[in-house]
Amino acid sequence: MIKILHLYHDLMNLYGDRANAEVLTLALRARGLASIIEKKSVGDDIDIGAYDFLYIGSGTERSVHACLRDIVQYKDTLVERIENGMNILATGNAHEIFGYAIIDADAKRHDALGVLDFETVQGSARVTGDCVGATDFLQDQLIGFINRASIGQTGTTHRPFAYALGPGANDASKTEGIRYKNLLGTYMTGPILVRNPPLLRYFTDKLTEGREAEAVIRFGSNDIDEGESDTYGHSFFTFQEDAYQKALKELLARIEK
């Protein structure tokens, strides 16, 4: 059983983010692997090292600070697990918590986990827009939407996303995000694993590595092991691919204009 932790599922779930955990279980199931999503938040007793995959979504600026205040208790375990290759995805401003600090719009400094060398500066306006671009770990381009109040990041951390369209982490650059071992973070918000079949496959591959399928599930057919009836989700991947291809085409066309 693959254990997925949707951390701060209520505090950090601003843009339909939870779909990322949901479609990951669907994709794992298509590979014949069972998985479970556990939702935990502030005040819960969490054995954070016991999970195979950790997901955190976007929150309001005030919510990110509340998230920081709580997550600090898991710092040592998290750092150790990240070094050992734990799969983590942080979308939107959630990835900011892995830097040294977040400086809020009133210039107040809030210490963060300090896993990677960067700091984030929050502003009082918003940076929004569609984005499309390459990464340093996938062949295909990714699409998404950015919606944040942060105006810049300093530090030496390598940024894995390079956009042809859309705002980078700083005014001058078109790059953003974090990647270290199996920790991936991006300013792209919402269900990015729904929008990007290549990214969903990337994480599914990571999680299925070295595991044997428990049952072969052919979605939409009747020959499912253990007599399990399954109309649920069978067509998801077709629709997902179609939506991705169309959106990619539309966004690339916008660059040419």
Binding site: D10, Y15, G16, D17, T60, R62, A66, S235, F236
Partner: protein, 476 residues
């Protein structure tokens, strides 16, 4: 002289625009260019009711304007203009004499939540109604707390003379009545509120007794206190994060409404509003203890609009009972719903704002609640009028699982974003043999005729309304 010229030009441009059937924010825009300070020179009537918030601004403003007119007042209302400063300027300069005196007994100003502060720099409302705050157009608005900060600045700009009319059930709106500094410093659990507030809300029974539909909300913006970000509890919930909230850590909690919806019959539209006779506000505003009225388009949001309108109208000295009588049976002109027939099958268009999950949830709930075998059509073609956007995360905030109901015989997903909708529906657990996919709107009518049955409920946004009606062969 500049005032005179700006007003005169605005009036002329408005006349020309009216003849050409053009929108009406341009005259105000030009007048503001000629004399940016022109609004500060107007002599306003005693009653200026400003309306802002995420949902229900237009409908609530219309109800207020109607109730004021019914009580014999002349009313200026920016119903045909934009709700940003240009639209408000167009209205004000149009109804002002060349001297700058506004010749109306009352003004009703619908204000965009992001631009209200700018409007209040010049126009100090006598009452400011804030309907609610929810996830709405996040590509533009960021998120509800970001908008809340804008509205807080608007409240500050309006000044302490303005009576706030606030949604007691909405924790975010409720923060606007709290003097935040006092809240933080006060150790004894008391909460310090601004002096002039009228609260409206709905009671527990109203929420629970009508919700036999199993809702599985996709998110909870009421889980944490908007003031201190500690966990928040609810004695009861009405919908989403509306209800009787109470912070576990700080003294922030729901205030007792001065006007409260105590009954709503979804089928007949009959509703009852109870004035809290012990509240200072309700007493001084001549609220009788029980007010009955009737909604033409019943629904949760509609009921909130009515109670909010009655609370706002009562600030003008018109009694709550008089306002309720005026609203009784009134049909909104805004065109939120359209009725039609396809092959003698009853059809209803339920306008639901794209990028607004609460609006969709309410429409889905309403459709299922009709208890008729039905076909649901969900059309998403243009999210933004300006350009294509890949931002469809809001589809994952909508509780489409509500449509997993025996009465829903068919679901038709339509428009340019059909695959995004289809991907979302693939995770609802709804039997996929019920679902049809129609990307081309022009093929929609034929598809509905050939493949579906029962009453037809169409959910889409204003931005897709014209194309939909064309696609259904119903004209524009």
């Amino acid at each position: 002289m500049q005032v005179f010229i700006a007003i005169a030009i605005c009036k002329i441009l408005y006349m020309i625009g009216k003849l050409m059937g053009k929108g009406s924010s341009l005259p105000g825009k030009i007048a503001l260019k000629i004399y940016p300070n022109v609004l500060a020179h107007l002599q306003l009537p005693e009653h200026v009711i400003a309306v802002t918030g995420s949902n229900g601004k237009t409908s609530t403003a219309e109800l207020i304007a109607h109730a004021l007119k019914a009580s014999g007042k002349s009313v200026g209302w920016n119903h045909e203009g934009s709700n940003q400063i240009e639209g408000v300027a167009t209205l004000l300069l149009r109804v002002a004499a060349l001297s700058g005196k506004v010749k109306k007994d009352a003004l009703v100003l619908e204000c965009d939540e992001r631009y209200a502060r700018q409007i209040f720099t010049y126009i100090k409302p006598s009452a400011l109604l804030i309907t609610n705050l929810c996830r709405d157009q996040l590509t533009r608005n960021g998120h509800h707390e970001f908008v809340l900060d804008y509205i807080q600045r608007a409240v500050d700009e309006a000044g302490s003379e303005t009576t706030l009319v606030l949604n007691a059930d909405d924790p975010y709106v409720s923060t606007l009545g709290v003097q935040e500094a006092a809240l933080e410093n006060d150790g004894d659990g008391a909460i310090k509120l601004d002096a002039n507030i009228i609260w409206f809300g709905a009671c527990a029974d109203f929420g629970t007794s009508h919700f036999e539909i199993e809702a599985t909300p996709r998110y909870d913006d009421g889980a944490f206190c908007p003031v201190c970000k500690s966990e928040m509890k609810y004695d009861f919930r009405i919908a989403g994060n509306y209800g009787a909230f109470c912070c576990n850590s700080c003294p922030f909690k729901r205030q007792v409404p001065d006007f409260e919806v105590t009954k709503l019959d979804y089928e007949s539209g009959m509703m009852e509003i109870t004035g809290n006779v012990t509240s200072r506000a309700a007493q001084s505003l001549h609220a009788t203890s029980l007010i009955k009225t009737h909604l033409v388009l019943p629904g949760l949001i509609g009921a909130y609009n009515v109670v909010a309108a009655i609370a706002a109208v009562s600030t003008t000295g018109v009694s709550a009972q008089t306002a309720a009588s005026a609203i009784d049976g009134y049909m909104l002109k805004g065109g939120r719903t359209v009725h039609f027939l396809i092959q003698a099958r009853e059809g209803t268009l339920l306008i639901s704002k794209h990028e607004n999950s609460l609006a969709y949830d309410q429409s889905l709930t309403w459709a299922v609640r009709q208890k008729k075998p039905c076909t649901l059509v969900i059309l998403v073609n243009d999210i933004s009028r300006k350009y294509y956007t890949s931002e469809t995360s809001w589809l994952w905030d909508i509780d489409f699982e509500i449509a997993n109901h025996a009465m829903v015989e068919h679901i038709v997903l339509a428009g340019r974003y059909v695959s995004e909708l289809a991907a979302r529906f693939a995770l609802t657990g709804i039997d996929q043999s019920k679902i049809g996919y129609v990307a081309d709107i022009d093929a929609l009518r034929t598809y509905i005729e050939k493949n579906t049955s029962g009453a037809i409920y169409v959910l889409t946004c204003f931005s897709d309304k014209a194309k939909l009606l064309e696609g259904l062969g119903l004209g524009k």
